[in-house]
């Protein structure tokens, strides 16, 4: 825990300019709210969803992102996902489910003091890869894990 925090602190210092820019953006949550990434959330394939949410689909695979998800999800309507990034200067995170109709589930913008840790629950229509994409210092990194779904969570 403490180690992660040190790394993050160093990261935010190194990425001071980036952090400041993000900080300015974050002071106006109303403006952020107006910009729900409709195209990204309605995109039907992973690349388009990533481009819409993170600016590019070109993400390097990284083992510094920890994606915690069950191997087998008995109920696809509630799949707990935890993403922790150990990459310095992580500013944004997105969680995608490759097999869903619209792969992008959620995207997060972290404040300057926020740790690169998000835990939430997503729906999965069928067995597929869960992809975590992280933006750090303007570069994209991703990691993925296959989750087997026995009962789908999309549709009736």
């Amino acid at each position: 825990m403490n180690h992660n925090r040190r790394v993050l602190l160093k990261g935010s210092l190194a990425a001071g300019a980036v952090g400041a820019a993000v900080g300015v953006g974050l002071l106006t949550p109303k403006a952020v709210m107006a910009a729900w990434a409709k195209d990204a959330f309605e995109a039907k394939d992973v690349n388009a969803a990533m481009t819409g949410s993170m600016g590019s689909a070109d993400a390097a695979a990284s083992d510094k992102i920890k994606l915690k998800a069950p191997d087998i999800a008995e109920n696809g309507a509630v799949v707990p996902i935890t993403v922790t990034s150990n990459i310095k200067g992580t500013t944004n995170m997105s969680i995608l489910v490759a097999g869903n109709n619209t792969p992008l589930t959620s995207t997060y913008e972290l404040g300057p003091t926020t740790e690169a840790y998000i835990s939430t629950r997503v729906k999965m229509g069928k067995t597929s890869d869960v992809i975590a994409v992280v933006k750090a210092d303007g570069k994209l990194f991703s990691t993925k894990k296959e989750v087997k779904v026995t009962i789908g969570g999309c549709g009736g």
Binding site: M1, N2, R5, L8, L9, L26, L27, P29, V32, M33, W36, A37, F41, S53, A77, V78, V79, V97, N100, N101, T102, L104, T105, S106, T107, Y108, E109, L110, G111, T113, T114, E115, Y117, I118, S119, T120, R121, V122, K123, M124, G153, C154, G155, G156
Partner: protein
């Protein structure tokens, strides 16, 4: 939509762990009513913003693929016990709610 949010925030060694549970149907718009066969209109949270002591610590955009009654947990540093913490959400129909609490 009052009281849709349950919020717990705990500070330890300067790092606050925030957990929020929101009551919301999170309809995708793809499901059909079993009796009438008509599609159930989409209703899902699009924006979640969390502020602490006047600063935004997390702003999230959600799609319809977040589970019903969404749960979110995250951490941020530089927090101390007694700081204010506020979570607010807006859905695609324009409904919204927010809750302000204190970090324990």
């Amino acid at each position: 939509m009052a009281k849709s949010i349950k919020l717990r925030a705990k500070a330890k060694d300067g790092v606050a762990t925030v957990k929020a549970l929101i009551s919301h149907p999170m309809e995708t718009g793809l499901r059909k009513d079993k009796k009438s066969g008509k599609p159930i209109p989409a209703e899902f949270i699009q924006e979640v913003v969390c502020e602490s002591a006047g600063k935004t610590v997390l702003s999230a955009q959600w799609g319809s693929a977040i589970s019903k009654n969404p749960f979110i947990s995250f951490k941020f540093s530089g927090a101390k016990s007694g700081d204010s913490i506020k979570v607010s959400w807006v859905d695609n129909k324009g409904n919204s709610d927010s809750l302000e609490s204190n970090i324990k």
